[in-house]
Amino acid sequence: MSPIIEIQNLSFSYHKQKVLEEINLCVEEKDFLAIIGPNGGGKSTLLKLILGINKPQEGTILTFGETPKKNLSKIGYVPQNTNVNIDFPIKVIEVVLMGHIGTKRPLFGYAKEETLCAMGALEQVGMEKFANEKIGSLSGGQRQRVMIARALCAHPQILILDEPTASIDIDGQKQIYKLLQELNNYITIIVVSHDISVIMQYANKVAHINKRLTHHHMSQENDLKHKCDHFCEVEMFNQLREDK
């Protein structure tokens, strides 16, 4: 089977400063890829390239065999920082409805199908009871699940999350990861995260990005030592395993 995301020799710079260099990465269907790495290491930039917000300056990036712009509807995105604009007068269901790409839109407002879809997405994340609440009245974890519902609204084949648990309490984090694990049964998941220790339990691939990429395939047993093809990261991973 051909990979659904294929990145070859990708380089990208902001104002002549290289952020990403010669990245090669393949994501296959139903992968759970964790992208880790230091701040400013280029993780978010890589996401923006996959989403087609930025264009690669060197190399190629293909989603479903085409340029990213053509496949926006197949990718669901949950941005970092869902705590902005909390005062905004908007209901949960309206936020979720924004996930639609708008191909079936009626002349005014939302189509019935669209609303049903949005409710379905809310049920998927267990937030259907909150559909008519104001978004600002939810907790951080609940809000994050609403953002995941928004991303699921258009039935994506890939779900990309940027630091989904950054500002959520530990219980909320667990729920989010459990949800992602369930979703992973039928969609591909890419998570950028700082909580390496948590993400390791769920991911089947780990990409460490610090300008360059170190790629790790993880076997079921998490047997890193033999699977890591780059010695530089082995120590860090071993350290983590000992910490557990």
Binding site: L51, I53, L72, Y77, P89, M98, H100, G102, L107, R150
Partner: protein, 268 residues
């Protein structure tokens, strides 16, 4: 008071107050949720340059003010989309230069004696039939655009980055919001004057925001609050013979404090 209602200029003033309140309730909501209050202030003051040009060339005031206001809205849109970090500097610049152009041109206009106070603080009692047409058409345009593009404008206002990913033309809607703000500012100048415009666009809106769960509810409530404040302000201004613009704003501000006070008491 009742006999006053039979004067055409009072009827015009009431009508203008309602039309402008509705428009500023809707657009003020957009301005507040998009954090554009300072931008609206910049547009209002730049519009004064347009008033100066119109007076100098003998053109209709609304026309001159509208052209300047929309022009400044377009410049602001361009700057915000390209150099967001320098935005406040540019707005400050346009704010002052617009005012200066207006002052100079009005000074240079022969025989025109310093009626410019009415643009600074409003002249709702001098609203003409044509003004009403302009205000009514603008309100109709705003309502049409808002019903037609509500979901897009909501998406852009709430999360523009995400809206962009969903294929919504963020630049277009951002510019559209600014242009509508500019036109609303121009009609609001007639009612409360350009110095006080900001208050009309924010005070009723702020109260409405606290009470609303959706953006359209906020718009409708703002329109209602704004209408009530405007009518009350007009009444006070008539009874005590004080400037209408200022009394509308003071009524609004007083109501806001009352609202916040009651809110705080209830929260206990």
């Amino acid at each position: 008071m009742l006999e006053a209602l039979s004067y055409p200029f009072i009827q015009n003033a009431l009508m203008a107050g309602l039309l402008v309140s509705m428009a500023s309730g809707i657009i003020g909501s957009l301005i507040v949720v998009n954090r554009m209050v300072f931008l609206a202030g910049g547009i209002a003051h730049t519009a004064y340059g347009g008033i100066g040009v119109a007076v100098f060339l003998g053109l209709p005031i609304f026309l001159g003010a509208s052209i300047f206001a929309v022009g400044s809205a377009l410049i602001i849109a361009m700057i915000t989309l390209k150099h967001r970090e320098r935005m406040d500097t540019f707005i400050g610049l346009m704010w002052a230069v617009g005012m200066a152009v207006g002052v100079v041109l009005i000074d240079l206009t022969p025989g025109y004696n310093a009626n410019f106070m009415s643009y600074l603080f409003g002249s709702i009692l001098a609203v003409s039939q044509e003004d009403l047409w302009f205000m009514g058409s603008l309100l109709a345009l705003i309502i049409f655009i808002m019903t037609f593009w509500y979901r897009d404008i909501l998406a852009v206002s709430y999360d523009s980055e995400y809206a962009n990913l969903r294929g919504i033309n963020v630049r277009f809607f951002y510019t559209l919001i600014l242009i509508l703000s500019a036109l609303t500012v121009v009609v609001a100048i007639k009612v409360v004057g350009l110095i006080l415009v900001i208050a009309l666009l924010t005070i009723p809106v702020y109260i409405a925001e606290k009470l609303s769960t959706t953006l359209y509810m906020m718009m409708i409530l703002s329109g209602i609050f704004s209408s009530v404040f405007t009518l009350l302000g007009l009444y006070v201004s008539y009874e005590y013979d004080i400037a209408s613009g200022a009394s509308i704003i003071l009524i609004s501000a007083f109501s806001l404090f009352l609202f916040l006070g009651v809110n705080r008491l209830l929260a206990r």
